[in-house]
Amino acid sequence: MRTRSISVAFLTLAIGVALMSAAPAQTADKFRIAGIIPLSGAWGIIGENMRRGATIAIEERGGQVLGKPVEVIWEDTETSTQVAVQKATRALSQGVHTVFGEVSSGSTLAIMKLTDQRKVPQIVTLSADDRITGADNSRYTFRTSNTVSMENAMIGEFAKRRAVKKVYGIIADYQVGRDMWAALRADLASKGIDVAGEEFAPIGSKDYSIMLDKAVKSGADGLALIVVGGDVVTSLKQGGEINLPQKMTVVGTMLMDETLGQAVGPAGALGVNSTLRYHFTEDTPRNKKFVAAYQAKYKEPPSQYAGEAYDGLSWWLDTVESTQSWDKEKWVDAFRNSVRQDSVEGVKRMRACDNQAEQIGLFGTAEAGGGEGLAVVMKVAETFPAQTLFKPCT
């Protein structure tokens, strides 16, 4: 008898939950976004830049979406995947409408599992691991920025256009770095560029001088430097001591920008070639408006991280607005098939097959700064059309 009562209670509860799930989306009093990014630790500066870009995206629409104020809950992941998962779990339990972040691919992949379970859209504007929109893709996760494959394709093509014959690789010893190098090696081989040698450096290495010396003595005319965080500054600073950029064509992914140029100094930065996620000199109406707003607020031009964050989040919020609905499924469907005609980098097309934005790729070379108090500025040396960087959806 008692067992029967318990069973009836559970059945009633299950019916109630099913009815609630089927109910139409309720209008909320605020549009809540969880900003899950590092604001401290090794990548705190990146997260801070992303926050700035996202803030401009919200402010330019009067801080409103669907007629309600936007509330952003910024959660500091402290450059730790474990903390990122904890913070994301808490934010999702607070009923956010969108998750924005993270920086590291490992953290993004971990958070994706949570947002997928909770059916909450997640906008990724930095993490590059191919799995995010590849093997591990989720209906609810969208990436508006570059993939590792894109970055590799640009590096390989740039090396070919600069007539590089042999490349030496110095790679950060972690999974994404090794995967990236393996893919780049294959791409270089397909372009007839030999690999003269490779070194896998522990992340946080304080000395790259011997590895750089080996690279110079290897006979290679190109150096692929795939390192992360402070190691970028360490390796390039120490490379500058021996005039490395004058001896070899140095290329890498997100290896150089104005911020890194300040930290590395001209000796190590000038002449370095790098993929650029975004650059403030892009000549589009939206970019000019964004750069003006950013400079007025923060007194400096926006970095790559800020530009990508602004672009991705503003695209998403415009799409949400266009649905005139609080139904997240409608937002997801609308975004999957959307085209951003006026992104900061021209046209971006969201691919419904993998939720990855198809877009141009930028490649820049560091030059001496001419103003704005910048010692080093990036000049966009190559712009790769989207069709050369993406395989068609199958």
Partner: protein
């Protein structure tokens, strides 16, 4: 030959930091977890001084003095009340100091990476046995060697050094002989902090100046101090040379094995000579 010089430059930087750490432990009995944070503060102060004055040399001279004053204040206000307490209090206090210093640096200088340019006279490289070696690295080797000599001379050959050693060996006896032991302790901590400041200033042109720089190097410092023997300057030199050369030759032949090689040296030392290469084994009975 170039590997040796690079190994020496790594060793000298490690020594500059480890010397302060081992001095504080040897003479005060305190494991200063905040030593890395003091090194970080030294680097940021050196950055600010070099940016404000345009001179690396001013930064190299003044930053350690500022760190010495900071160290003295820390010793008097935070450590002096807890000398007689169990070690856990000192560990917690110095750990808390890390958080305070990091937050102070974050508020003052933000999250941006900073950089110190080497002075023009030390910019560029020289060709040494068919390898380009940066002039700044050669300076680090020579400067580090000079600091080794100064510390040895100061501690072993001067009356001030005699007072330091007497105070650490038997504080009560030294007090009875008229030595103001509390002032000596303040001086030792200030000296240790100043050495951390020198390390930060010297590292500035070679490494990125960032919030986490202290926590990444403190592990190497502890390895050096443990290998050399706690409280032993000779040991700090030997440990720094061992680790510096391990890292340099590791880079030369097997970069991905550097950390494994370093920790293997540490484990081997602990197994074969747990008191450290120059440490003295204490009898427990």
């Amino acid at each position: 030959m170039s590997t040796i010089i690079i190994g020496l430059s790594i060793a000298m930087l490690l020594f500059l930091l480890s010397a302060g750490l081992t001095l504080i432990f040897g003479m005060l009995g305190i494991i200063n977890f905040a030593h890395g944070a003091l090194y970080m503060l030294g680097a940021y102060l050196a950055y600010q001084l070099s940016a404000s004055t345009g001179s690396f040399w001013v930064a190299l001279c003044v930053a350690p003095l500022l760190l010495a004053v900071t160290g003295a204040l820390i010793e008097r206000s935070m450590l002096r009340p807890i000398y007689d307490r169990p070690h856990e209090f000192q560990l917690l206090a110095t750990f808390g100091l890390i958080l305070v210093l990091e937050e102070f640096v974050r508020i003052m200088w933000g999250l941006q990476l900073r950089s110190i340019a080497p002075p023009p006279s030390l910019s560029g490289s020289v060709n040494f046995f068919d390898t380009d070696i940066s002039k700044y690295r050669l300076f680090v080797v020579l400067f580090g060697a000079a600091m080794v000599g100064l510390l040895f001379f100061g501690i072993e050959r001067t009356s001030l050094g005699l007072i330091l050693r007497a105070s650490s060996n038997n504080a009560i006896m030294a007090e009875m002989l008229g030595v103001k032991v509390s002032a000596v302790r303040t001086g030792i901590f200030a000296l240790g902090a100043a050495l951390a400041g020198i390390g930060g200033a010297v590292a500035g042109p070679m490494l990125p100046i960032q919030l986490q720089m202290g926590s990444t190097i403190i592990l190497d410092c502890f390895i050096v101090v443990i290998i050399g023997g706690l409280g032993n300057i000779r040991g700090a030199v030997a440990g720094a040379l061992l680790i510096g050369m391990t890292r340099a030759y590791g880079q030369q032949y097997a970069a991905e094995w550097i950390d494994i090689a370093t920790y293997t040296v540490l484990v081997a030392t602990l197994l074969l000579r747990p008191q450290g290469l120059f440490g003295v084994r204490l009898r427990t009975a």
